[in-house]
Symmetry: C2
Subunit: 427 residues, 2 copies
């Protein structure tokens, strides 16, 4: 771990630079898969599933029998249900009431949110089943009222899906589950095949190829939740923090992958040093210590001279996850501009938000917290505006519309108002 003392603000962006992906190679593979899925549908899915997942499947849809056969331990069932309840409670609180506004007497405007009818959720495969991401995507989709919730996830080389994935999907109202992964899953949900329905918006994490595929899908008129990059955590800890807790949080980020970004900022050099010692101690006990060690090699311990400097650095970096353990935590909470999700105090580890506090763990990485929200209830809805104007209303605003339309050279726009004004006795 590299310790950096009071770096100058104009060095921050370089200091905290994220790793860049090589896009060119991915782009050609992605467009090739899309083209083949567009032309050959399920046959193409079959081919790529054989190629990338090493299993030969005739049907991709998980059957009723497979769903019913999925069993997990009582302890895990209870944990998932507790997490679901909290996620539901928090996302339900994001519902907004419709407010009708009379902008001018007789001119009533309002905005209503309606569900995106068909959504697709992508859940990556790998060494462990990421059922927690199903909670984070399917719970708000169901609360929003999406009528078709499609889930794609890669099968193992036996052609099977982990029972925790199936259990959670069923619990959260996923309507159809398909054993399809990677670029071919994104292509299937974007274009539709005989088995997999096309959806209007695709959500979920994935590796660089899945991310490139999601971005490519947008050129086919499909929306995506956000571009995704490697996960990242910035901790600000002053002398009120517990070094062992801080170390455990940094390590929980580091175990995600060798490209995870881990940054500790402090106004106390003693804290930096104590956390470094704790990291060494805890690291040796981790089953994923090779991965975590690689990630920690790129990590930074940064000493700054004040809370103000720390805040400026945080807003420049725009971390996906931000932990604040500070005597003046209110200063950071009030003034943070750019972050995905913020964890406050010694008893709020990032893992709480990853699983069970209720907030969403699908968050903007790669500095995108400057312009993107994490997934929330609104991600599964769109706003429609409505307006209703009375005769008095059009008399009040009509002349302004006529003037503006004429100034923009749009005579027919003006006419639409003039005809109505004339009919009610204004000339």
């Amino acid at each position: 771990m590299k310790k950096i003392i009071n770096p100058l603000p104009d060095t921050w962006l370089n200091l905290l630079e994220r790793p860049a992906n090589e896009r060119a190679d991915m782009d050609s593979l992605v467009s090739e898969v899309f083209e083949e899925v567009q032309k050959k549908g399920d046959t193409a899915i079959q081919k790529y599933t054989q190629l990338f997942d090493g299993t030969s499947l005739k049907t991709f849809k998980v059957s009723e029998e497979e769903m019913n056969a999925a069993t997990i331990s009582k302890e895990l069932t209870a944990a998932i249900q507790l997490a679901k309840k909290n996620i539901e409670t928090f996302h339900n609180s994001q519902k907004t009431a419709t407010e009708r506004i009379e902008t001018t007497p007789g001119v009533i405007c309002w905005q209503e949110k309606r569900a995106i009818q068909k959504v697709g959720l992508y859940i990556p495969g790998g060494t462990a089943p990421l059922f927690s991401t199903i909670l984070m995507l399917a719970v708000p989709a169901q609360l929003a009222g999406c009528t078709e919730i499609v889930l794609c996830t890669p099968p193992n080389n036996e052609g099977e899906i982990d029972p925790a994935i199936l259990y959670t999907a069923k619990l959260c109202g996923v309507t159809k589950i398909f054993k399809v992964g990677g670029v071919q899953a994104i292509a299937a949900m974007a274009l539709g095949t005989a088995s997999v329905p096309a959806v209007y918006k695709i959500f979920g994490p994935g590796n660089q190829f899945v991310t490139a595929a999601k971005q490519y899908a947008t050129t086919f008129g499909v929306a995506i939740d956000m571009p995704a990059g490697p996960s990242e955590l910035l901790v600000f800890a002053d002398e009120t923090a517990v070094p062992a807790f801080v170390a455990s949080d940094l390590l929980s980020q580091a175990e995600h992958g060798a490209d995870s970004q881990v940054v500790l900022v402090s106004t106390s050099e003693k804290m930096l040093d104590e956390v470094a010692v704790e990291i060494e101690k805890q690291l040796t006990l981790l089953p994923r210590k090779e991965i975590a060690t690689l990630a920690m090699q790129n990590s930074k311990l940064i000493l700054v001279d004040s809370n103000k400097t720390a805040l400026a650095l945080i807003n420049t970096y725009a971390p996906e996850h931000l932990i604040i353990v500070a005597e003046d935590e209110a200063y950071f909470v009030e003034n943070v501009q750019n972050a995905g999700s913020v964890f406050i105090g010694n008893y709020t580890p990032e893992s709480a938000g990853d699983y069970a506090s209720g907030t969403n763990h699908t968050l903007p990485t790669n500095g995108f917290a400057k312009q993107y929200s994490g997934v929330n209830l609104d991600s599964f809805m769109k706003s429609i505006t409505f307006q209703k104007i009375s005769e008095a209303g059009i008399q009040a605003i009509g002349p302004a519309i006529e003037t503006m339309a004429a100034a923009e050279g749009l005579q027919a726009h003006k006419n639409a108002v003039s005809l109505r004004l004339k009919s009610i006795g204004n000339e």
Copy 2:
């Protein structure tokens, strides 16, 4: 105009097919311009401004003197101010209060919206100054609290910008205006040059090239409002509609461009025929009648057997603008799933929303109303989630987190909780 009687639902998508753009040609030009702007900055902007706008500029930033010299008629000033007031009132009503939720005793979660700090607005050039779009973008940007609001718009071949553009930009708090248009404007705002600052999100309409440039900009980590296509209007009118009004609305859409989409749906064949007659009558008087005539040739008059069928057709088409003139208007208002902005009743022309009712006119075209909102206050903000957990809170949810983290194979995630539980006496 083509009259279609009771088309079968499985023919709707073909019947209402939108024109497809040829992307390949645009993509190579767009990437070429981006590459040159990235390498040469303002020199590249100069070159393309000469090439596409026919004017040679040394500086692009509109000066204080140019801003102060911009004068428009008193009538237009008053109209713009009235529109601004209504747009402000409506967008201000979209502010949401922060709600703190205790998902489990001791686990407090909330979501706060913060402004996207730097935004870029693109205003197209052409035969008339589109100052109304500045109102639609800069008013919510200012309400949201964006600190840098950059505007790019092409100069005329004298190197000037219309005074109505300058007046409106100043009125709405735009911080910097640049005489840069087309693909080079999008590249400049995405990448930054010595003159033009890089922004986090780009808004605004434009032709196919500008749209392709905005989509390309997203691969450089910039967000965009939405992909844009030709403007479109669907009117549903039953026998309670005034044919002359309906005709004027259809024509106001048709005058936008030859590729505008205009659709009239009715349960009354008499209404379809009367509107057709009115269109012929009104069309001859329009200054932009060539454009409108071309658009009307692609327009459709569709007879359906019931309100229910009309609603299903509307939701399948997902129109940018939807006018509803119907005895049972509530049925449509309650059940429309896919539309950008809805105009209700005989006295609510689309031009009202284009200029002055208060709703936004930057709306999803091309069927994107299925998954995108029009521009609104939230478009200029992002949500950050916060959570603060007490000792009692982590005791309540900690064991569930431990179980889930272990099941996902993430031991360090589990540790971060276990350490804390241990420190407060749980093992």
